[in-house]
């Protein structure tokens, strides 16, 4: 699966560990949630970056004590129809202030990119290579957003207010 980050297809520097894969000496790793929580201290002490793969039915608040030390949080879309990870992403970004890499994994298709970007994801394990190639074009599909999220995009309501105020100047 191609990884898109910063709008470009990049090499995935992280190795995904299973629950029982022996821990490699060095290098960057993504670790399943349960393993991470049980070995957190040891994992964070080794050299190399550590990220966690967090299931969409587990309370994201459990990650809060570690957020400052995590290089990546990978949230899971077991099916593109299952939208729980959108809520987790927004909570991580907006409530818990997570600033590291936030990765979308699983059934990630181009038609979700805009939603995912708005929810705070910045890297994407895209299921179809053609979708990964179309990332930038798809990500720019919309120029109008009605809801405030933590992504910094101005909402339609506020853009209207700005327009209204600027029109007011000089009248």
């Amino acid at each position: 699966m191609p990884l898109v980050n910063g709008g470009k297809i990049v090499n995935d520097g992280f190795v995904k560990l299973a629950v029982d894969t022996p821990l490699p000496e060095g290098g960057d790793i993504l670790v399943p949630a349960e393993r991470f929580l049980s070995e957190a201290d040891a994992l964070l002490e080794r050299s190399g970056k550590v990220g966690v793969i967090w299931p969409n039915n587990r309370d994201i608040a459990e990650l809060v004590p570690y957020l400052g030390k995590l290089a990546s949080v990978a949230l899971v879309f077991p099916s593109f129809r299952d939208g729980r990870a959108y809520s987790q992403a927004r909570l991580l970004r907006e409530r818990y202030g997570y600033r590291g890499d936030l990765r979308a994994t699983g059934q990630v298709l181009r038609d979700q990119f805009v939603f995912m970007l708005r929810a705070g994801f910045d890297s994407f394990e895209v299921k179809k290579p053609a979708d990964a190639e179309a990332f930038m074009q798809t990500a720019k599909r919309y120029s109008v957003f009605y809801q405030p999220t933590g992504d910094g995009r101005i909402t339609a309501l506020h853009r209207r207010m700005q327009l209204r105020h600027s029109e007011g100047v000089g009248t």
């Binding site: 729980r84 939603f115 919309y142 405030p148 339609a156």
Partner: protein, 551 residues
């Protein structure tokens, strides 16, 4: 009317472009049907029995005449010359080609109409009172808040893939014409003791396989907190709503399983975290939306003009006026309901010619505005009383003056087995037969207000649970069987109907309804006692006896 600005129009156009691309990828095979399904549903496109069905949103039921003409154009150019108005303030077209859908959407976008989120597991078209803004005694126009919610829930980045569909309805009147108690979230606009605008919030209502009446989760949410409170409910639902079983995925099941106290604690906890965020609505934003609802320049008109006095001599006009014309908040004006239930026809259908002609009548007599109600009727919301006789004549020529609004032949029915791939039984022929049985206006008038609702399957698109008489078609051993409930209602006193006994065959339904009605006429205390009130007073038993004694 709400006027879209450049910002709204840009979004609708961007959506059309996206869907055009999605259809192209589906037609080329780049998208599988499974992947495409969710995308097309989010644009109101179903694959039905015979063809693709296209469902277009009419937010809070308000249409401008040019928008109605655009719907007529779609019916004519891309479909078979008619459309079907539904119980959700939508219109459906039944025979549209997938390859032409993007063009149809683009044509509608020109007049600010879209099909966003009319289906799929997301927040559906916001519905409201079809008399909003004109009903006497309303707290304020609920469409201002409906529009705020419409915007907020459109392409919401967190809630576009919910466990199941999600419906919000708003009313601002004592008499609830929006059926808020059978919605996922029901909102009742109220004022607190300080005179501030806010909402009583109900949650977990819904029909379908497991019907529930919504429960009050909060007695007063201030207007400025409305979006954050809705967002809190949705976030709790998105995280904890069941996804293992499609039949248990609606919020009503979550509310039921957790109990309203525990559910409301979860929501409260979430809400406290976000209520002072950028979701808080300042007055300026509300004023901006309010300013884009344009109200007619009403004239000062007499309460009883000569035209009306003279027309009163015509019993046909009077019959129509009595049941189609309702009081307006401005003296000298009326709200006119247009029955889409002519005797013998499928409820809720209108031809392209009728839509065009109605648009013209709206321009002539109703400041260019039309409303769509959940009863599958239309309304002209600002008709001067002096124009009523002329309007009636024009409607009559179009076959749109059937004087049966709120009477027994004003039936709500889903498309049923004739169109729908989910249905197990026919609805339309049952409705047609019942309208013929009760075609006699004197009899229908004698019976008084009585709502029959028919669904062709358990999904309850015809809202049979809340029909005064509810008829549910099911399939049993390869045969259509109809279960009949009585005593349901969808208004402020919302209640679910009770089953009167074993299901009956297709051919027997109309007879059974006649028996029920005869029993009612014999049992009611006085002519003003509505059918549904007689049922409430006496229970199911006497009706059951009457129906099954001879069967």
């Amino acid at each position: 009317m709400y006027a879209y600005d450049e910002i709204d129009r840009t979004l609708v156009n961007e959506r059309v472009l996206e869907f055009r691309d999605q259809v192209k990828r589906r037609l080329s095979g780049e998208l599988t049907e499974d992947e495409f399904k969710m995308l097309r549903l989010q644009n109101g496109v179903y694959l039905q029995l015979h063809a693709y069905m296209f469902r277009v949103a009419i937010p809070y039921g308000t249409l401008a005449s040019n928008q109605l003409r655009a719907l007529a154009h779609v019916a004519r150019k891309y479909d078979r010359g008619y459309g079907h108005f539904t119980t959700r303030q939508n219109i459906q077209f039944n025979w549209i080609k997938l390859a032409e859908l993007p063009d149809a959407l683009a044509d509608l976008a020109e007049v600010g109409i879209h099909a966003m989120q009319t289906s799929g597991n997301n927040m559906r078209n916001v519905t409201s009172d079809q008399w909003a803004g004109v009903a006497p005694g309303e707290i304020e126009d609920p469409r201002i808040w409906s529009e705020l919610i419409r915007q907020h829930t459109t392409l919401h980045p967190e809630f576009s893939f919910l466990p199941r569909k999600f419906k919000i309805a708003i009313t601002a009147s004592d008499h609830d014409r929006a059926a808020i108690k059978v919605h996922d979230i029901g909102l009742r606009l109220i004022k607190n003791e300080k005179g501030e605008t806010g909402f009583e919030v109900l949650v977990g209502g819904g029909l379908g396989r497991t019907p529930f009446i919504g429960k009050t989760i909060k007695h007063f949410v201030h207007g400025r907190d409305l979006l954050s409170y809705i967002e809190a409910i949705l976030r709790v639902y998105n995280q904890y709503g069941r996804r293992d079983n499609i039949y248990k995925a609606r919020i009503k099941i979550l509310v039921h399983e957790l109990g309203i106290e525990k559910f409301s604690r979860e929501v409260e906890e979430e809400w406290q975290q976000i209520r002072n965020s950028s979701l808080q609505i300042d007055d300026e934003v509300i004023e901006d939306i309010r300013s884009r609802f344009i109200y007619p320049a009403y004239e000062k008109l007499p309460h009883m003009p000569d035209e009306l006095r003279q027309a009163a001599a015509d019993p046909d006009f009077e019959a129509w006026r009595k049941n189609s014309v309702a009081p307006h908040k401005i003296p000298g004006y009326s709200i006119v309901t247009i029955s889409l239930k002519p005797i013998g026809a499928p409820p809720g259908d209108a031809t392209a010619e009728q839509m065009d002609a109605l648009a013209d009548l709206a321009d002539k007599y109703s400041f260019g505005e039309i409303r769509v109600g959940h009863e599958q009727n239309l309304a002209l919301p600002h008709v001067a009383k002096r124009d009523l006789p002329a309007l009636w004549k024009a409607l009559d020529r179009l076959g749109l003056a059937t004087p049966n609004v709120n009477l027994i032949t004003d039936i709500i029915a889903c498309p049923g087995l004739d169109y729908c791939s989910l249905a197990n039984a026919r609805s339309i022929p049952i409705a047609q037969e019942l309208t013929r049985r009760f075609a006699n206006h004197e009899l229908a008038n004698l019976i008084g207000r009585l709502h029959i609702n028919i669904s062709g399957c358990i999904n309850a698109c015809g809202h049979h649970h809340v029909g005064h008489i509810g008829i549910l078609g099911v399939e049993k051993n390869g045969e259509e069987v109809y279960q009949i409930t009585i005593g349901g209602r969808a208004d402020e006193g919302a209640a679910l109907g009770n089953l009167i006994g074993p299901g009956v065959k297709f051919d027997e339904v109309a007879d059974v309804v006649e028996d029920i009605v005869e029993a009612y006429l014999a049992l009611r205390e006085r002519p003003e006692e509505l059918f549904v009130d007689t049922v409430k007073r006496l229970g199911v038993e006497p009706f059951k006896e009457r129906v099954y004694a001879t069967r």
